[in-house]
Structure formats: C-alpha cells, structure tokens
C-alpha cells in the first residue's frame, strides 16, 4: 500500500529523477561515505491506523486515567476543569500546524493571541510585562535566576527551603552550568550579601502561604531581586506578586486549560517589572502598525534572542510552548474575572473542608498551622505509601508522600474537580488507619 504521507507517485518520482539528472534515488546520497550509507534499523514492522490505534488505546488503558479516579495529588501538576472551548480553539489546525510567527503578515492569529496571552498573564500576576511563555515553571524559575544574576552582576542564588524540590533541582542545574552558585534560604535567616535573588514559592511546596512581603523586604534590603513562583489558579483570590513587590513572577500555566499529560507540556509563565524588559528571555510580541497604518502584531525586541544575537542572547530558548499559552489565554478569557475567582474559591473552600475533616480523624493532624490555599500536608498514623495503596484500591489517587520531608506526611491537593462525595470518601478511608 502507498503511504498516505508520501503524495508522489512512482511516475512522479521517475520524472523528478530525470529532471534532477540522476538514475536513482541512491545517487542523491553519494556524498555520504559508502561504509555508513546503508545502516540497518531494528524497528517494529509498520502498522496501519486501525491496528496501531487499537494497540495504543490498549496501552493508554494500562494507565489509571483520572477520568476514572478521584485525584488528591498536586505538587506541581494540577487537575483543573478545562472548558471544551479550549480544546476546540487550540485544535484549529491554523493554530497548531503553524510555525513560530516569523512571517508576521500570515501569522496574525498566533501573534494577536500571544499579545492577549501576555496581557492576561500581566493582569493575573499584577506584573508589568510578560513574555510569550517558557517551557515550564522550573525552567522559567531557572532563567529568572540567571536574569537576576545579569541584572545585579552577582553570582549567588538564594532559594527558599520551601520551594518545590524539582524546581530547586532545575534552578541548580541551570545556574551551576553558568558558573553561579545556589544556596538554601531559611525563612527566618537573612540572605548572603552577594545574592542576586531570593526565590520564594507562594503558596509553597508544602501548601502554606509564605510571608511574601517580608521576603520581598529581605531580598530588597540585600540588593537582591525577589522571584516569586506562584500558582496561577490561586491568583483568582490571593494577592498577586506584582502587588507585593516581586521583581519577577513565574508559574506553571498547565493549570490554565492544559491537561496534565503525565507532566508535559507545561507552560512557563514569566512576567517581570518593565525596567527589566530587555534582559528577559524568550519571545515577546508587540503591537505596531503596517504600512497602511492598520494595527498588527510582530515578534519584537528580537535583539535579545539567539537567532539574532547568538552567543550574546539572553537565553538559548527558541521553540517553547506557544500552543499552551494559547490555551491559557482561551481559558482565562472563558472564565473571566468572576469565573477564575469562583474556581479559586471552590479550591480553597473544598481544600479547607477536607483539611478540617482529616484533621479531626484519630491520629491525623495538619503538619503546619498556617494559612493555605488548596494544598496541605497532613501527618498520618501510618506510612503514606500504605494509605495511598488502600486509596488506590478504592478508586482514589492519594496525595504525595513527603515523609522524607516531614514525618509520615502526605501532601494533599483539592481542586474544583473534587466533589464533596469524593472528599467524604477520602476521609472515610483515611479513618481506617
């Protein structure tokens, strides 16, 4: 059978070979040394759409899809409601089969949508400017840390001990590669005088809210920038980083209309003060006019970027997560001011309902008595892994086992997707231990 993806017929190929002036396709590969020109490949035999769809549906079926399980797991990837409009918009192939919008005249869809995304990211974070998005929260935080080093001409990164350990690891990989160093900052101690920035997560990895204003004060007193890692859904009700004085705000935009997809793609939201605009990594879209005075959009400030500036670029980033940024824009527009606040409040109240009920169970207690948004750590009377196992058998994905950080603790996350019934069932099973 001919391939559906190779439209040339044998007759076409013969004509084309003749036009090129060669006798066979083989001759086109003559520049490749003979001894390496005919490699052997051991790959499974090809399958048709019918066969492979069936096989892959079965493979997907071997995963416990959260469409069939109640989920109380967060810790960096979140199950939130995704309105169907999001999927339908990003499923338009004019969006998803386009390249990076180098040819602005035929890319106004992507460009204008990116301008909307940047605007919405600024509205949400309270920051002055946003780029078009980075890979994920952790690389956004890492590039923010490097940017802070460039701005302050200092080489040390202070990362709060309550930052997601995965994010801290990525920051470490990036900054050490560049020859900078990383240190852990405890809440009650100061930061070194040569720190470029203090990285704080709010709500933090353990769920509770940080004293962010004090953190900002601490950073600024030491001449350092404050980088805030935030949860975008929490910003439906919590004070945004722009308002408490953060210099750079980063977040994962997965929560805004993107499926978890086993951890990727995510979306690194990256917003900062306007004065740092020209040190920012990543694409930025700006509004301008065409020769006839009609408004339009272009990629701008490109002299920061690798394809113009090469080794002097602010980052190596090229392809990023444009389609996820589009999804985030559609999501934020679909929810709007009342919708996002409502979703944030659903998360907050349901999480507090769950926390209150769990804390009343024999042997359970909240690990921290601080305000939280929708994630909280509970100390359990048994090993969290044992409890999770029991939960799983009853159709529930339990929280993250953080017993290596706090004794027998489990980090639970509740979102608007969890019904009261699910929470009650969770509490009932926990009560068996």
């Amino acid at each position: 059978m001919p391939s559906p993806y190779l439209p040339n017929t044998d007759a076409d190929r013969r004509t084309m070979l003749r036009e090129v002036g060669v006798g066979s396709i083989e001759e086109l590969f003559q520049d490749i040394p003979e001894e390496v020109r005919h490699a052997q490949f051991k790959l499974p035999r090809p399958l048709s759409e019918v066969e492979l769809k069936k096989e892959l549906s079965q493979l997907a079926g071997r995963n416990a899809s959260l469409d069939n399980y109640a989920c109380f797991l967060g810790a960096g990837s979140y199950r939130h409601f995704i309105p169907s409009t999001v999927e339908h918009v990003i499923g338009r192939s004019e969006f998803y089969t386009a390249y990076t919008p180098y040819q602005a005249e035929v890319s106004q869809g992507t460009l204008q949508a990116t301008y909307e995304y940047q605007s919405l990211a600024c509205q949400l974070t309270g920051m002055e400017v946003s780029n078009a998005g980075m890979y994920d929260c952790s690389t956004a935080a890492a590039e923010a840390a490097i940017m802070a080093c460039m701005i302050t001409r200092r080489g040390k990164i202070a990362v709060s001990s309550t930052v997601n350990p995965a994010h801290r690891d990525v920051i470490k990989t990036y900054v050490q590669a560049r020859g900078f160093s990383i240190e852990t900052a405890e809440l009650n101690s100061g930061i070194s005088s040569d720190s470029a920035c203090l990285v704080v997560q709010h709500p933090n990895f353990l769920g509770y809210l940080e004293e962010v204003e004090a953190c900002v004060q601490k950073a600024h007193d030491g001449g350092a920038l404050l980088i805030a890692i935030v949860d975008p859904i929490s910003l439906g009700m919590l004070k945004p980083p722009g308002q408490y004085g953060a210099d750079i705000a980063v977040a994962d935009g997965q929560a805004l209309g993107n499926p978890m997809s086993f951890g990727g793609p995510g979306l690194g939201i990256f917003a900062c003060r306007r004065e740092y605009l020209r040190q920012m990594p990543g694409r930025i879209v700006g509004k301008t006019v065409d020769v006839a005075g009609k408004p339009g959009y272009v990629m701008t400030l490109v002299t920061r970027e690798q394809y113009i500036r090469r080794e002097r670029a602010t980052s190596n980033i090229c392809t990023s997560e444009a389609l996820m940024a589009l999804a985030a824009a559609v999501y934020l527009a679909a929810l709007g001011k009342t919708g996002l606040r409502h979703v944030a409040e659903l998360c907050y109240h349901k999480a507090h309902y769950a926390a209150e009920r769990v804390a009343k169970l024999n042997g359970y207690s909240l690990a921290f008595s601080k305000p939280f948004f929708n994630e909280f750590a509970v100390r359990c009377p048994a090993a969290p892994s044992r409890i999770s196992h029991a939960l799983f058998n009853e159709g529930i994905i339990g929280g993250l086992d953080i017993s290596h950080m706090t004794d027998n603790a489990m980090l639970l996350c509740v979102t608007e997707m969890n019904t009261k019934q699910e929470i009650d069932k969770l509490v009932e099973i926990l009560g068996r231990f």
Partner: protein, 480 residues
Amino acid sequence: MSHHYLLPDISQPGKIGCSLPALDVPPAELPPRELLRQELELPEVSEVELVRYFTALSKLNYGVDTGFYPLGSCTMKYNPKWHEDIARLAGFASIHPLQPEESVQGALQLMFELQEYLAEITGMDATSLVPIAGAHGEFAGLLLVRAYHQHRGDRVRKKILLTDSSHGTNPASAVMCGFEIDVVASDSEGNVDMKNLESMMNDEVAALTLTMPTTLGLFDPQILEISRLVHERGGLLGADGANLNAFLGRVKFGELGYDYVQLNLHKSFSTPHGGGGPGSGPVCVKENLSDFLPSPLVTGSNGTYKLMSPAKSIGRVASFYGNFSVMCKAYAYIRSLGAEGLKEASENAVLNANYLKEKLKPYYHLPYDRTCMHEVVFSGRWQKAKGVHTVDIAKRLLDYGLHPPTVYFPLIVDEALMIEPTETESKQTLDAFVEAMKEIAREVEENPEILHTAPHNTPVRRLDDVRAARNPDLRWQMRS
C-alpha cells in the same frame, strides 16, 4: 479579515464563557485580608463571543494544513491527524506525573520504547526524552560534554567549536553551559574547512557541534575524518539533529562518529509545531555519556517500567519527564512508518529538494551547485543587483498564497533563501511553487515595485518592526 478589537473591547460586566459548579461544602473562613487580592480585572465574554473571536484569529494564520510551508531547517511536514487523537486519549492526557508507577505502566512503556527506538534510529546507546525543545536538548547535550570532561578530571576544555553556518541556538546554548565558543569556517564547497579545524582543534576544545547535514543542506563527505580528528585530540562530537529528515532510516549518527545528538520530534517525527511549541528535544548518546543523562530515564525489565536517575546525572532540566503528549505522537509516527517507511520519507524529502534545486537554479543563484540533501539554499544576489532583496521575494510569495522559505539564514550565504519542501509535498505542489518563484523572478525584472510593496493580499501588510521595538506595546490594560 483583519482584527481591530481585543478581548477587553468585547468584554461586558456579567458575562462568562463557561459554566462552573456551585460550592457543595460549607465555606471556610477566608485568609486575612492582606493576603487577598482586591481586584482581578479579566475580560468577561460569553462562550459564543469567545469562540468567534479566536476562530477569527485562527483564520489570520497560515499552517501546514493551509498550504506549502517550505521553511528551511524547520521540517514543516504534514502532521497526521490521528496522532493528535492518540495524544488526547484519556489514558495519556489525564494522568498525573506523580501517580504511583504501577498506575502509569502504559505511559512508561511508551516512553521506554521511544527511548529505544530513538537510540536505534540514531545509532546511539541511550536516550533522554526530558528536553522540552531542540535548544533545550542542545543545552542538555552540552551539559553532558561538560560533565564528561569534568569527570575525567579535565578542566581545561572550556571551548565549544561550531561552524559559521550553525543555528543561533548552538552558540547561545554553549554560553548557557559556561563554555566559550570558537567558530570554524566553511570552505568554498560548503564543507568544514579541514585546515581551519585542524588548527583550532586543541586540548581546550571540549566538543565540536556540527549539524549534519549542515544548514546549507549539504552532507559533508569528510565527516568520518572530522570525527577522527576531534576524538584524537580528546574532544567529543555532537550533532544538532535538526536536519535528521535528510537521512532518517538510512544513516546513523552513531556510525558517523557522533557522541551525542539532539533530536526535534516536532520536526523529523512529524509532531505539529503549535505556532512555536510544544516541541520535544530528546538527546541520544553513546555509552560514554549515558551515565550523565538528565534525570529521570525510564528503565524496563520483565514488562515492568520504572523511572530512575542515572549514576552521575547532570540533574534535572525540567519539572517532570518532558513533553509526554509530543512523545505519544512521535511514537505513533515511528510505529506507523517502521524502518522502511522512515527511509522512504527521507528519500522523498531529498528528491523533492533536489527537484526544486534543479528547477529553480536558472532563476536564482545557487551558491553550492552540488547534490543537496533535504533542503537547498539559494542566494538572492542576482535579484539584489536589481534592487530587490530576499525579504521582498519572501513577502511577494505571500501574495501567491505560499509560505516563504527561511530567509537570511545561514548567515554565510548572502540574501539566503533556504527551502525545505519535505517529503509530504507532491510534485504538483512543488511545480506550483516553482511557477510562483519564476513569476517573481520575472517581476524583479519587469515590475520590482510590486515586490518592494509586497505583500498586498494578506490580512496586514508589512509591519513596522522599528516602531514595535522603540515603543514596546506588549499588552492591553484593563481598568474596572
């Protein structure tokens, strides 16, 4: 067609674009007021207005599904529709990365097998799927180089050599890994200048990164000699794998002497580019680098799959395990084509490029007149002599309803036009492109003004980049 309004312009208080459930638990006390935001100004639009707005925007875009997209170095091949469906299966899309491993065995199996397939396709020993995009894979590859030399106790090798035709991400990634860079010249044939390489390849050089085929669309026949030289002098050889579409299923990077290669699943393996991502940039390595790979890898034995961190891992480079949904599509691509299908794909890609080369060379200057691989680079210097620049040619192509090639890259070709047709285009499409290019070449002679003022039929005409950069307008403002 053009759009003069933005979301705030259609926003009206009291509207919403989706329905949400009511609270079904007793409300809790809110946190102290100083922790809360006082206002949240987001647009308020109904669902139909929202959908129409974004549908109208989509119509201002040009994608592979719209038409021919011969963007050199970007491999804009067709993206099979059903691969999208695979990535959207609930068992793949609705799984949390931190779920118990036993509840995601299907996902881990897919990743494990994809690691193996990519190692086989590149002739390498191990694969990390974590890097999110091509430049991210380059970054990871260079970190491996660094770790390799450091582990050997060699701290002198601080330089990365790259060629004057390399992608901009190559030097940018090297700097992000703390390396200095040095540039090796290309010779008059478009190959690496061996004398130049010979003189630069000293004990300060950690690696040579060399795209193969080069960004001139040419296979450098000296590759085995290059590899020998680099290794003899203690360096490593790395590939920016952006051009793998030239020899998929035919040649293995490992057999060419490469120590690592970074791939672009969103190019060679047919996953859509999304208007600028999501991509996926796996890095495949020989055994000498495999212990350093980013964390985590997927291991498998007796049908059970696990995540693990390699012994001397460079650490994490992303929050989780990479762009899993993109991996699903690339996996489907490899399984539906098989080894023979991949080879046929690259053969057709190379044939299509050579066909365009022959058809267009009477009309545009061909700086390297030899068999090309999957792409061909022309120069607009003949047209420049008539006062018409490559940018004008590109913009005029838009009037013909075609997406232009990559322009002004590689930097070593004056007024470059880099054309990559890919294998998924038919002879009829190529012929139509050739006709348009011939017509434009004629217009350069007869009516250059029409090129200077092009495009004429697009949603907007040439945009003022200078104004955009001088007075950056990067967002709308919305006030209550």
